[in-house]
């Protein structure tokens, strides 16, 4: 499964009410480190297809949800489970770091 594009409009349905854990990458096109995280997120979307929903939210086009979650730095990646943020990562992380967190919620 390809990574999902989350928006202010679909966030409630796609993330908070999702049946499976969701990983959201908050990014923007002018943010260089975000470009380093992007491919990792896309790979995770494939690796965890059917188990975890993985996608990105462009903070340039969507201001409401990033504000609601107090995001003041990107890239920030938040892992949600049952509508709650359970883990958040600021800055570029190794793929392994995200995987460890995902494996933890899949237990």
């Amino acid at each position: 499964m390809a990574d999902v594009a989350f928006t202010d409009a679909n966030f409630d349905q796609e993330v908070l009410k999702a049946a499976m854990p969701v990983m959201v990458d908050f990014w923007a096109p002018w943010c260089q480190p975000c470009k380093m995280v992007g491919p990792t997120i896309e790979a995770l979307a494939v690796d965890y297809a059917g188990k975890v929903k993985v996608g990105k939210m462009n903070v340039d086009e969507n201001a409401q949800i990033p504000g609601q979650f107090g995001i003041m730095g990107i890239p920030t990646v938040i892992l949600f489970q049952n509508g709650q943020p359970v883990k958040s990562f600021v800055g570029v992380q190794a793929k392994e770091t995200y995987k460890v967190a995902i494996e933890e919620v899949l237990k």
Binding site: A28, C31, Q32, K35, G73, G91, V92
Partner: protein, 304 residues
């Protein structure tokens, strides 16, 4: 699998070294790391890399270097080097999953941004504490921010922030600047930018965000609290050397260089910001990469 050379790091230094070693027909592996491309991946336009009169985006420059190294046969994998056995030949290098063997090694792991290391900082990274103005400036529209540092990167970040923030205060622990006169002039001429010299941040305060900082005047010793919405840190870099056991470093953690880019271990070479605390330019890093690669070529020829 035995490689003639394994290059650890994939900034301008590591990739230039890879271009040279592959063109010299050495079997080359680059352990590029999960953050491949190094510091230039975090910059926008590079105006001082020769050959690009209009400048070039950092990530584009790095993608080109990578393509060039791959074209000549370098094998590049985006995993982190975890540990190495440099005691006997061949050297054994481990990533999380695999082991690789090499006759020679070039350490080109570069350096990462240095944080202040004060109370209240770490837990607020991404909540008002940042080291990337281009990334995070938009979250500080019409807000008041501090930038810590006195070099070119501090001035550059201040200018980026001044485009959106209400005010930018440059806090610098000394009375004079390392920044070039052109950057300093640009910052001084910007009406939104002010300076707080001979001062340092002692603590960052707030609920979960940044709401104020404790600032100490280094001359008088006086401390005061200053309300602020964001703290941007631009105080230089620390070399990425903690993973190398048995490789000598200097007091600040930079790899100690013997003659011709050799480390204390014969067959292990070094290039770029991981040993260079003086120039730290994309072009010097690339230059060191080519030099180290030529030394590797010579060393292997002498030891076969």
């Amino acid at each position: 699998m035995l490689y003639d050379v394994i290059i650890i790091g994939s900034g301008p230094s590591g990739l230039t070294a890879a271009i040279y070693t592959t063109r010299a027909s050495l079997k080359t592996l680059v352990l590029a790391g999960s953050k491949w491309g190094g510091q230039l991946m975090l910059t926008s336009v590079i105006e001082n890399f020769p050959g690009f009169p209009e400048g070039i985006e950092g990530p584009e420059l790095m993608a080109n270097m990578r393509k060039q190294a791959e074209k000549h046969g370098a094998e590049i994998i985006d995993t982190d080097f975890v540990s190495g056995d440099f005691i006997k030949q061949p050297f054994v290098l481990k990533t999380g999953e695999k082991e690789y063997q090499a006759k020679s090694v070039i350490i080109a792991t570069g350096a990462d941004a240095r944080w202040l290391g004060v109370k209240g900082e770490e837990e607020r990274i991404g909540k008002g504490v940042s080291c990337c103005a281009t990334c995070d400036a938009m979250f500080f529209r019409a807000k008041n921010v501090i930038i810590v540092g006195g070099g070119d990167s501090a001035m550059e970040e201040a200018l980026v922030l001044a485009k959106v923030a209400a005010s930018v205060t440059i806090v610098h622990r000394r009375g004079e600047f390392k920044a070039s006169s052109i950057m300093l002039k640009r910052a001084k001429e910007n009406p939104k930018i002010s300076f707080l010299l001979n001062s340092q941040i002692e603590e960052i305060l707030g609920d979960y965000r940044v709401q104020s900082v404790k600032v100490k005047n280094n001359v008088t010793g006086e401390e005061r609290e200053m309300p602020i919405d964001g703290v941007f840190v631009a105080i230089g870099h620390i070399p990425n050397t903690t993973v190398f056991k048995g490789i000598e470093t200097d007091k600040e953690g930079y790899i100690a260089v013997k003659e011709h880019y050799q480390t204390n271990i014969p067959g292990v070479f070094v290039s770029g910001d991981v040993h260079d605390k003086r120039y730290r330019q994309a072009i010097t890093a690339a230059g060191y990469g080519s030099s180290a690669a030529l030394e590797v070529e010579k060393w292997l020829a002498d030891h076969e």
